[in-house]
């Protein structure tokens, strides 16, 4: 009886019902899409960082992450090579030697990260080769050829074929200097990376820096990169004790944390919006319930307890919220799913937002059933809890007060 009365009241209070219904439905759908978009962009930023250059895992000496200097280099690169060759789940790997140098052309001088790489092996581990926009990629027997980031080339005002000078420090801390010819220019879209990175053939760089058989670290690919975390744990156990294997989660921990902080701020700012919705629903419930005070007084005079009234009013909102939030969840989930399959593409987006690590013109969304479920559930609970105060207020009136209420 209380249920059918609740449904009749819902249908009778049209403006209340419609307002709460639409509000809950749209907030639910909006929240789901918003979170999917945030998660999607974070995922894409991390994925780009990993795939463009960082890689899914590294092997380096312990202490290298804290101090990436010449004192923490891999001293015997061949030993690590042999070790890695014996691991069937390591599908590709390559050593890198990274050092900070000054590059200059005429009166322009720019600090840069210069990496010695093995060009052929690198091409399957990073996107360096496919990021080429001018000239050509490095080859394994190249000597004085340099591969420059597009923004770095711009700062140096050089083009393919131009000569640039390099001054750095070799392993014995004597000055190392050489001239390089720009062989190719790349562009990954990662702003910092394109602005500060340059690559040369490792063999040749080793001869200048006196770093033969040394490496800053090895970058690796696994047969299943989703399992990078557990593979690196396996590797760490069997590596000589001075080495460690780190997965991308550990390598990019700063970035991962940044994303978490960003998500948190996202939730905080969106929760302000939800609190507003909460109060709007509460006010509508309040006004609606007060417009029915006499009826409620009558029901209590007839013999309904204040608990019955609580159940009746709660059920009214429960039914509206259940239907609208479910509908909102379906709409939100469908929109999210659609956007994941057919992402919105805005040309020029990557250019505008490259500082934020966005390297694609598409707006990424991430469909995740669990996230959608808890988003929906939170809104459901939040909206439902807005009824408690109005119920509390109305039940504080005595039966006769309620019946006399005007």
């Amino acid at each position: 009886m209380l249920y059918s009365l609740a449904i009749k009241n819902i249908l009778a209070s049209k403006s209340r019902t419609l307002t709460i219904f639409l509000l809950s439905m749209f907030t639910t759908a909006f929240f789901i899409v918003y979170v999917a978009y945030t998660d999607g962009s974070h995922e894409q930023m991390i994925k780009s960082s990993v795939e463009i250059y960082t890689g899914y895992a590294h092997i380096n000496t312990k202490g290298y992450q804290e101090e990436s200097d010449y004192d923490h280099l891999i001293e015997d690169a061949k030993q690590v090579e042999t070790f890695l060759k014996q691991k069937p789940f390591v599908s590709n790997f390559s050593p890198r030697f990274e050092t900070y140098v000054l590059l200059s052309q005429k009166e322009k001088t720019v600090g840069s990260m210069l990496s010695g790489i093995i060009p052929s092996r690198e091409s399957s581990l990073s996107r360096l080769k496919s990021a080429l926009i001018k000239g050509s990629y490095l080859e394994d027997n190249d000597t004085r050829a340099i591969y420059l980031g597009s923004d770095l080339a711009k700062r140096l005002s050089v083009d393919v074929g131009d000569e640039i000078a390099m001054i750095g420090s070799s392993l014995d801390y004597s000055t190392a200097a050489d001239l390089f010819v720009v062989k190719g220019i790349f562009r990954t879209g990662l702003f910092d990376f394109d602005l500060s990175s340059a690559f040369v053939n490792k063999d040749y760089l080793d001869s200048i820096m006196m770093s033969e058989n040394k490496a800053s670290y090895f970058v690796l690919d696994f047969d299943d990169n989703q399992a990078a975390d557990s593979y690196t744990k396996i590797l760490s156990k069997s590596l000589p004790s001075s080495y460690e294997a780190l997965s991308w989660q550990a390598l990019l921990s700063a970035l991962v944390q940044l994303m978490q902080v960003d998500s948190l701020f996202g939730y905080i700012s969106i929760s302000v919006f939800f609190i507003v919705i909460f109060f709007v629903i509460m006010i509508f419930s309040y006004v609606n319930i007060y417009s029915r005070v006499r009826q409620i007084g009558l029901l209590r005079a007839l013999g309904l307890t204040s608990k019955d009234i609580r159940i009746l009013l709660f059920n009214e909102l429960l039914i509206i919220t259940l239907v609208s939030v479910s509908l909102g969840a379906v709409i939100g989930a469908a929109a999210t799913y659609y956007l994941e399959v057919y992402p919105i593409t805005i040309s020029g987006l990557a250019d505008t937002y490259k500082e934020y690590g966005i390297v694609s013109d598409t707006i990424p969304t991430h469909f995740d059933a669990f996230t959608i479920a808890w988003n929906t559930f939170s809104i459901f609970i939040l909206n439902l809890s807005s009824i408690f105060y109005p119920i509390y207020k109305i039940n504080k009136l005595s039966v006769t007060e309620a019946m006399r209420y005007v």
Binding site: K8, N9, L298, A301, L302, L304, T305, S306, T400, M403
Partner: protein, 223 residues
């Protein structure tokens, strides 16, 4: 039903203090048809509300058979009202989202009467109260006189021990008042339901078998 030393004071110990009822002692027998009368402000409504448990007495007690009503908790009193008391108020008696039929059957439904029994009872009362034609209408679609008759039907439908009616005729014209009282009297005689009114309306007084007159919260006449 026995009322022993019932008093009611509003805003006790404050400058606004009102002694609405002072030491009321009364006994009501089963099947009575009684009116509480008196001038405006004499305490009729207050007494009726206390009997029905809508308000609590400041002191004194009410016994029904051996049950002390004044000792019941709010929840217990609500349940007691639901099972044993039918109310007819001056106005706003009906639940606006329910049809006349649903309004009459409302309490029976809450008490989980059998559907068939509910329907036959509604039809039976509809004939006595002459509301057969409006059973499927909503309260907003019928006249004041019809609304009061529907309220009476709802009050008696579940065969409560006691009907309390506060100025049931106050918003009705003389013809409708007479009709309502006649029907209530018929129900009282047919079903032996106890009816207590609070009213100073001539039509109510004319039909009553016992009249209790209140003045300043005290009984000054009982015949």
């Amino acid at each position: 039903m026995k009322l022993i030393n019932i008093s009611k004071t509003f805003f006790p110990d404050s400058p606004k203090e009102v002694k609405a009822l002072v030491n009321i002692n009364l006994t009501f027998e089963e099947g009575e048809f009684t009116t509480l009368s008196g001038e405006s402000g004499s305490g009729k409504t207050t007494l009726l509300n206390i009997i029905g448990g809508l308000e609590r007495a400041s002191s004194g007690s009410i016994f029904l058979d051996n049950l002390e009503l004044t000792a019941l908790s709010d929840e217990q009193m609500a349940d007691f009202r639901l099972r044993h008391i039918g109310f007819v108020f001056q106005a706003y008696n009906l639940i606006s989202v329910l049809t006349v039929r649903e309004n009459i059957g409302f309490i029976m439904k809450l008490l989980r009467f059998d559907e068939v029994e509910i329907d036959s009872r509604i039809d039976e009362l509809a004939v006595i109260l002459q509301i057969e034609d409006i059973l499927d209408k909503f309260p907003g679609q019928i006249s004041g006189g019809q609304q009061q008759r529907v309220a009476v039907a709802r009050a008696v439908a579940s065969r409560p021990k006691l009907i309390l009616a506060d100025e049931p005729t106050a918003n009705l014209d003389s013809k409708n008042s007479e009709r309502l009282m006649h029907m209530l009297r018929t129900l009282n005689e047919k079903e032996h339901v106890t009816v207590i009114f609070a009213s100073h309306d001539r039509y109510v007084l004319d039909q009553s078998r016992r009249i209790i007159v209140l003045e300043d919260g005290a009984v000054i006449e009982d015949h």
